[in-house]
């Protein structure tokens, strides 16, 4: 009887741990949905930019699209891949909410999350460098700032960076929450 009472006490102390672990997993799921919205918005905003100036000369074309710069093509592709991955990982996230003791699948999800974080950061920062160049130009290398002519194109590409960087922040929080859920068991 005394041994049975000791086991009951052990079982009751596990309940708050499971509750917090479930809350952490639920928060991770919410952040995942938010990150999907952010990256999808970024990809669409960058991918649908198209500005044609109302005048033209014989030599220079006055049209700006996202695929004129290979870095922006990489940005759209990276954001598309990451948002597709986030949609596919939502069922796994729901599974982790329901079963808090799942460890190996959490590790697999963290591995893929880290890869996607690196991809997203690479795309976002490369196009941030190009956007900075488009705004300011570079006098030493004789690179002219194209934002002075293509105003709405510039605004669009600058705005699409915001969603991507928000997605990066959310990814860091997602990986952090997964690590906390792993360490609590």
């Amino acid at each position: 009887m005394k041994a049975g009472a000791a086991l009951d006490v052990g079982g009751a102390s596990k309940m708050p741990t499971t509750g917090i672990s479930r809350g952490v997993s639920a928060l991770g799921f919410i952040l995942r949905v938010l990150a999907f919205i952010c990256t999808l918005g970024s990809a669409i905003a960058m991918g649908t930019t198209n500005e044609t100036l109302p005048f033209f000369t014989r030599f220079i074309r006055f049209r700006a699209e996202y695929d004129d710069l290979p870095t922006f093509t990489f940005f759209v592709a990276a954001n598309g891949v990451v948002s597709g991955y986030l949609i596919l990982s939502l069922p796994f996230s729901i599974f982790h909410i329901m079963r808090s003791a799942a460890q190996n699948s959490r590790i697999v999800l963290v591995i893929f999350d880290t890869i996607m974080l690196a991809l997203l950061t690479a795309g976002a920062s490369a196009s941030a460098a190009i956007v900075y160049l488009a705004h300011k130009g570079n006098t030493k290398t004789n690179w002219f700032a194209i934002c002075q002519q293509f105003n709405s194109f510039c605004k669009r590409i600058s705005g699409s960076l915001i969603g991507s960087f928000g997605g990066i922040l959310l990814f860091i929080l997602i990986i952090l929450l997964a690590a906390i859920a792993l360490s609590r068991r």
């Binding site: 196009s127 460098a129 488009a134 290398t141």
Partner: protein
């Protein structure tokens, strides 16, 4: 055994010794319940993490140094221009040098934490702290490397649509050193991501 209705009660006979020293016995039974956890895996992971950390320090500092010393002056000059190229001519490369220096400094400062994790394989606190800060360092390294890679691509190939001409043809050494530095930062990013994974796997066994 007593049968009462549809369940059976099993009487455990209480020995005299147990009833007299029951208070000492009960905690011993509860304390004996957890299985002793093996330390082999976690310690091996921590040692591997330390080795990777030292390699990442080398990679990050080499990248910062390579970009920082990449100045080149061409042997000819005109009346108005002296043809000089340095990392501080391009703000992205400035950001690269500063970011890689920060990451290299952080990795050096995190060596004691890694040693603590090796000495105490089952402590969750240092592991979690290392995971968080490695994640931030990974993001910073990837950002610096990708931005400098975009600039290097532009320097090598230019962009006819925006009328941006490549300058690598004229400043060959500068371009080579800058691109080499970018490669170093990518190596550091890969090592950091493996370190993040090691911390995650080690947290599972804590």
């Amino acid at each position: 055994m007593m049968k009462r209705g549809d369940y059976t009660t099993i009487d455990v006979p209480e020995s005299a010794a147990r009833s007299s020293s029951s208070k000492e016995k009960a905690p011993a039974m509860v304390a004996a319940a957890p299985v002793p956890r093996p330390t082999g895996w976690n310690k091996g992971l921590a040692i591997f993490d330390l080795i990777l950390r030292i390699s990442a320090i080398v990679a990050a500092l080499a990248a910062a140094a390579s970009m920082g010393t990449s100045e080149e002056t061409l042997p000819f000059f005109t009346q108005f221009f002296q043809f000089q190229a340095g990392y501080d001519d391009i703000p992205t490369f400035q950001f690269f040098v500063i970011a890689m220096a920060i990451v290299g400094g952080y990795l050096v400062l995190s060596l004691p934490f890694s040693i603590v994790c090796m000495v105490r394989p089952h402590a969750a606190g240092p592991r979690l702290l290392l995971l968080i800060s490695d994640l931030v360092a990974l993001t910073l390294t990837t950002a610096a490397g990708a931005a400098a890679a975009a600039m290097s691509y532009l320097a090598h190939n230019g962009n006819p649509n925006a009328n941006w001409l490549p300058f690598c043809q004229q400043f060959g050494d500068f371009c080579q050193k800058a691109t080499g530095a970018v490669v170093g930062s990518f190596i550091a990013a890969v090592l950091l991501s493996v370190m993040v994974l090691i911390s995650t796997v080690a947290l599972r066994r804590v």
